[in-house]
């Protein structure tokens, strides 16, 4: 399966993608500070280095599509257009957060945007995504489901159960494997006898491709082509998006399992550097453009922090709400 026609690289497209990636990077960097200030607690998994995957894949999503994500989902949520103020309030555990503060960093939901978590059981989102796609198919909708998961999920039984079922039932399901080479601290070659994730998908009878997850244009082109195929009713597709996590697994990670040199090598081919270098080389962007976008992203994040600071915590009297539905669907 090869992408149809890659979209041309223009100034407009390049700056739009860069803008989204910078919004994510600034959000994540600010989260690090806030974690140090004890404003954000619990497990915090950041996606620095993986911004091109978030932004590139989300370009292919239509409003009626469903998204199932992982606990490293800030980037997916921001790129999908969730409100950044509500996202930051969620980090703070505030009532005006995306999940009323009840989910936190790992459980971002926005049902209006069909963003269904924020799933912190590795592989646990795949069966859900299978169900969304089954509902879309049975309801004769043209919508598709995008299921994001990491390379760690490939070791779970659900990966195999769900790839098999999605292919067997020809469901409109786009599997997006964000392969950052590590499942927490376990390198993929220490976990998988066969490290070719795309190859595993082909065994289940679906087209699959390996994409450079550091190249946002490549990610967007491949995801749009794959989504079009899935939308046309041709059954599921898997994309393996090869990327790298610049920070630790969570804020508690001493990173004993990988060399600093390895991180440096990947940082040199990071998604932001790759994109800005290319845009500048093509004469599509100036340093001033970059500085402006970064300033705007920082300002937006600061506005979100102000909002979160001022937001209210849920009253204790509401502790036991939302265990059961409060109104019939």
């Amino acid at each position: 399966m090869s992408p149809a026609e890659p979209a041309p690289v223009t100034r407009e497209r390049g700056l739009a993608l860069l803008r989204e990636m910078l919004r994510i990077r600034c959000f994540e960097d600010r989260c690090v500070q806030l974690y140090g200030e004890l404003k954000i607690r619990g497990f915090l998994h950041l996606c620095n280095g993986e911004e091109a995957v978030a932004v590139g894949t989300m370009q292919a999503i239509e409003p009626e599509d469903a998204i199932v994500s992982t606990y490293r989902e800030h980037g997916h949520a921001i790129a999908h257009g969730l409100d950044m103020q509500a996202l930051m309030a969620e980090m703070y555990g505030k009532q005006s957060g995306t999940s009323r503060g009840r989910g936190g960093s790992m459980h971002i939901f926005d049902s209006r945007k069909r963003f269904y978590g924020g799933n912190a059981i590795v592989g646990g989102g795949l069966p859900l995504a299978l169900g969304f796609a089954l509902a879309q198919k049975l309801q004769r909708k043209s919508a598709i489901t995008a299921c994001l998961f990491g390379d760690g999920a490939v070791a779970e039984g659900e990966f195999h159960e769900c790839l098999n079922l999605a292919a067997l039932w020809r469901l409109p399901l786009l599997f997006l494997c964000e392969n950052n080479l590590y499942a927490m601290g376990t390198a993929i070659e220490r976990a998988e006898a066969q490290t070719d994730v795309a190859g595993k998908a082909r065994v289940y009878g679906m087209p699959a491709e390996v994409i450079d997850g550091m190249d946002v244009f490549a990610v967007e082109d491949a995801t749009c082509a794959a989504a079009a195929r899935v939308r046309a009713g041709a059954g599921p597709v898997l994309l393996e998006l090869r990327t790298y996590r610049f920070r630790g697994h969570s804020m508690f990670d001493a990173q004993l399992y990988r060399d600093k040199a390895e991180i440096e090598v990947w940082q040199k081919k990071g998604p932001l550097i790759t994109l800005t270098t290319r845009l500048k080389a093509l004469g599509l962007m100036s340093e001033d453009d970059y500085q402006r976008l970064e300033r705007e992203a920082r300002a937006e994040v600061e506005t979100a922090v102000d909002f979160a600071e001022r937001a209210e915590f849920e009253p204790l009297a509401q502790l036991e709400r939302f265990v059961y539905a409060e109104q019939a669907p």
Binding site: R100, S111, P127, C162, E326
Partner: protein, 350 residues
Amino acid sequence: MSKQIVAPDVAVEAGRGTGVAPARMTYREAAREGLRAALRADPRVFLMGEDIGRYGGCYAVTKGLLQEFGPERVRDTPLSESAFVGAGIGAAVGGLRPIVEIMTVNFSLLALDQILNNAATLCHMSGGQVNVPLVIRMATGAGRQLAAQHSHSLEGWYAHIPGLRVVVPGTVDDARFMLAAALACPDPVLLFEHIFLYNMEGELSAGLERVDIDHAVIRRPGRDVALITYGGSLHKCLAAADQLAAAAIDAEVLDLRTLRPLDDATIMDTVRRTHRVVIVDEGWRSGSIAAEITTRIVEEAFYDLDAPVARVCTAEVPLPYPKHLEDAALPSPERIIDTVKSLLTRSEAG
């Protein structure tokens, strides 16, 4: 074996829809009629599970439904419990009304992650944005010499989990109509059918069109002692009560019907009228639903008791295959009667 677990191929006409005429049917046929009515009533309803279509269901509950409703709505799945239970959750959130069948409660453990970490949790974790109107049916219980991986009663475990509703039809009426109430519920409902009841015949109550899943029901009123039970043990309690009556002991039998949420009001009312309680539960005793009910009675109605609360549960062994050992492990009318008699002796002595 097949003779025991495969239903006779009879069409059940009476009791459909209006419920006008009283009809004799098995618990299995009643459950099938409930499914058929649900599929007819709502195009969003579909069934999904292992061997529910061409095979007709491991316990033949879904027999004939594939032919009537087609493979899209009576959907055979591979042996991928986590995937198809999770798919039921996703499809429910996505706007459908799936009824997932898990062959036995022991197999549901392969889907426990989906049931607990998604079905029971999504509503809360999303701050109320997402609810999961899913029904999961599964066979539970022992009595057919199916040994230690097909015989357990884990419904009490599931009743531990906030976000779930756990219902247990013990009668033909409930087997027929609890499903509709479960489907009307916006939250995930686990519905446990006891394997020993499938062949039980009973009369569908004339004129009955619906039941609730909120209340316990007194199946036999009595004054001297309350037998609090549910599901497969209900009939053992009714048999025990008959025999106790011959000994001039008037036992009340309370059918819990729903294990989560428990109907505390009806339980306490029974306790306050009878003053002696035996809880009969096919789960293991330690950490059981019987333990939970005991605690609630002690918390709420301690001074109404004339004797300590007693329990008849399954022996704490994985269920053995040979009949004599299986029988000895399970609650039986004899054990219930002995427990009641010793309770009455103790309370009279006290």
